[in-house]
């Protein structure tokens, strides 16, 4: 281990980049109160310790197959270990409670909205959301009009992307209520951190995340239309070629349920079955990990080979629960996003706890004109895409790109939105040579909606590994961090003493084999 002193400047020399907020350090470079012990441990670990831990991390991830594929030059893909940064992100208990309340509120409203869109359309009649926008959304699914799933829950699993502005406030930058992914990395990151750098945990009580699969299973069971005591839950994957297959298998294994593909499923008389060695067996709840478009060739894309014919009919008949419900994509469309605060006021009668980022809908000619003029200060996103595809960050673009974008937007303004540039907060991140450097982060917490809304403490922190970059998507070179929510003893849902506090009575001493020859045995017999 490298001692402190000589290596200390590596951490001490860390300077947050104004004007961005750094989550571990004050602007003058001193650690924030919650981060003091962590910074001390990092200093003690030193660059050598970080390099060593990084090497072990890559080895462990390769061994466990926690990798993702990147395409190098010439179309060749190669496996890289999942890029986990060794410096965790720390959230206080209070901060987390606010985020959690805000998220629960937002998800409730989004769920109401999905229900409303496929039923009475009250929000449209009130004139709050233009019907044109809803109906033109590519994820709007006419096939599921009028269907109300068990418990009225559509958005069983939701992941909203949050960012922290330089004034310290959290804002929602994007909702994701289709098939948000990344939870497996949250759990694997934590397990890896505990193995690699346990010393960082020394002065903290970090709230665990490993109960997520049980929360999900409980939620899925609670919505499953099953008269029997235990509902059969399955995870439906498009197959091993899918980029998120690791996560699908991970969740199925952790929940102890079957991981099925389309060929395993069949619908007979509006009931969903899976093919087993003992004949057909009913499946009550499906956690599906493929897009609406592919799920049922009879109702959605007819050329889909990944779908199960008749599934939507079974769903309509109420014999199977689908998570997330079909058609939820209408709620996380980027054009609908700007209406979420209004939804919260309309459906829940509450003021939104989490703010939106200021967003411009380009269908209004005046707004469009304003946006075209200020394009170099704004972020432009295509409405139908996800994963950071097609996003243009004005201040980072050159004049040629801006011109091209102006033309594209003017021809089809409905397909684009513009947003103010958010100054994403930074967290120290281990760079090359183990020097800590400020890098931008966002946060995707995962919520499970069953009988109630449960949110796993923390979530997936994604980090842009390039200096100054604001793009955190792992498909575009982003990494991730373990996210710690600290136990502060003041949490309403916290219960029970910490595990080490109870002191069980000692059992009678163990006996050990006496084997070392006759003499010793004789001695012992004489005792």
């Amino acid at each position: 281990m490298v001692s402190s002193g000589v290596q200390a400047p590596q951490v001490d020399g860390y300077r947050p980049q104004a004007p961005f907020l750094d989550e571990l350090f004050e602007p003058d470079g001193t650690p924030r109160p919650t981060a003091r012990a962590l910074v001390e441990e990092l200093r003690r670990l030193g660059p050598q310790g970080l390099i060593e831990a990084g090497r072990r991390r890559d080895a462990i991830f390769m061994q466990q197959g926690i990798t993702f594929e990147t395409s190098g030059g010439g179309g060749a893909t190669h496996e890289r270990p999942f890029p986990l940064d060794l410096v965790p992100r720390v959230l206080s208990g209070q901060e987390w409670r606010d985020i959690k309340r805000g998220l629960a509120q937002r998800i409730r409203a989004l769920n109401h909205f999905v229900d409303d869109v496929y039923h009475a359309r009250e929000i449209v009649r009130e004139g709050l959301v233009p019907w044109r926008l809803v109906a033109s959304c590519p994820q709007f699914a006419r096939a599921v009009h009028g269907i109300r799933p068990p418990g009225g829950v559509y958005t069983h699993v939701a992941g909203c992307d949050l960012v922290r502005h330089s004034d310290g406030r959290w804002k929602v930058i994007e909702d994701n209520v289709r098939i948000p992914s990344g939870i497996s990395y949250v759990l694997e990151n934590r397990a890896a951190m505990a193995r690699l750098v346990p010393e960082l945990f020394a002065s903290y009580r970090v709230r665990p995340v490993d109960h997520y699969p049980q929360l999900l299973l409980r939620a899925l069971r609670s919505v499953a239309p099953s008269a029997e005591s235990e509902a059969t839950v399955v995870v439906w994957t498009p197959g091993p070629a899918n980029a998120a297959y690791f996560e699908h298998a991970f969740l199925a294994r952790q929940m102890g349920v079957e991981l099925v593909e389309a060929s395993d499923l069949v619908v007979r008389d509006d009931v969903l079955y899976m093919r087993t060695t003992r004949g057909l067996e009913r499946a009550h709840a499906v956690y599906r990990r493929l897009d609406d478009d592919f799920v049922d060739p009879l109702e959605f894309r007819s050329d889909s080979l990944l779908g199960v014919p008749g599934l939507v009919r079974a769903y309509r008949a109420g014999s199977v629960a689908i998570a997330n419900a079909f058609g939820t994509g209408v709620a996380d469309d980027k054009a609908i996003y700007c209406f979420v605060p209004d939804m919260i006021r309309f459906y829940l009668g509450e003021e939104p706890i989490l703010e939106n980022v200021k967003t411009y809908l380009l269908s209004d000619p005046e707004v469009l004109e304003h946006v075209l003029e200020h394009l170099d200060q704004l972020v432009v996103k295509p409405t139908g895409e996800s994963g950071g595809r097609g996003v243009m960050i004005g201040p980072h673009a050159d004049e040629v790109e801006l011109q091209k974008m102006r033309r594209v937007i003017s021809t089809d303004p409905d397909r684009w939105i513009a947003q103010d540039l958010v100054r994403l907060s930074t967290v120290p991140t281990v760079g090359p040579d183990a020097v800590l450097q400020p890098r931008h982060v966002d946060l995707r917490p995962f919520a499970v909606f069953g009988e109630r809304i449960d949110i796993v403490p923390g979530g997936l922190t994604r980090v842009a590994l390039e200096d100054g970059s604001l793009i955190v998507n792992s498909s575009r070179g982003g990494g991730s961090k373990d996210t710690w929510v600290l136990e502060d003893g003041d949490d309403a849902d916290r219960a029970g003493p910490p595990i080490a506090d109870t002191q069980p009575p000692a059992l009678p001493d163990l006996r050990y084999g006496e084997w070392t020859g006759q003499q010793q045995q004789q001695q012992q017999q004489e005792l």
Partner: protein, 316 residues
Amino acid sequence: MLARIAHELYWLGRNLARAEFTARAVEAVFQAELQGTSETTPGVSFGSGGLLAMFGDVHEGPRSGQALGGHALGQLTLDPERPGSMLASIERAREGARTVRDVISAEMWEAINTTALGLRGGGQPGWAAPAGPSLASQYVKERTALIWGVANRSMLRDEAKCFLDAGGLIEISDMVLRMLRVALPAGDSTPADGHALILLQAVGGFHAYLRAVTAPPNARPVARFLLFERAYPDSVAACVDSLHEVFTTADAGPRNSKPVLRVSRLAADLDFQRRALPDGAELTGICEQTQQELARIDQDVTERYFAGATTAGLRR
């Protein structure tokens, strides 16, 4: 075969199983103690204090926090002075294996010897770090899996294998029972028994549990699973079943053999308890009785097969 050799093999099995299950428990506690409590009520308590209690220790010194955790886990991994440490178990196994080098295959001896050499003198580079207990535990888990694998592929299915297996089986059930006794909430006072994931992780049965049981992993169903689930090889019931099998094979006259009879009675008793007990029933009593019964079996085995070699080791 020679009574002495049978005795050595039996204890070789016990020590290997002891080392493996110590490693599993240390790893599970290590991971759990780094993190805070879960959002649900924990009904089981199994931290480093519990781990020490499992080995018959009341720990001294600081009561809470990581200072204790690191200390206790360190003791249970590489401390040569502590008879309960993984190193001590492996050293005893190596000593036993050396005595019976002619009976076991060279490959198996080498596997055991290499394991002991790898643990000595503080173990491998990097184990001094705070992650040491976890790294050492993983090493022992891997190595014992390898040793058992070699044994299963290379040993003749004869008496020798039977006694080796018998030792392993009796040790596994004893460890599982000890852990349950320490960790289970006493009495019926806990209406909502919390997650018992740590118990499953401490015996490596997490995956099997999820596939076998549909109930969430709370204390009572987990305890039932670890006690009664015959399809899971490390459950007490499965171990007792297998014990019956190996003793029947090894015994010259199984029909009137005391250990065979006692084991078959215990197997039947466990089966009866499984059927008779309602799902939420309290299980600590059964754990204690079963453990005592296993101690009696151990004694019978010693008397019948090992020419009374070590009746005096019992400290209860």
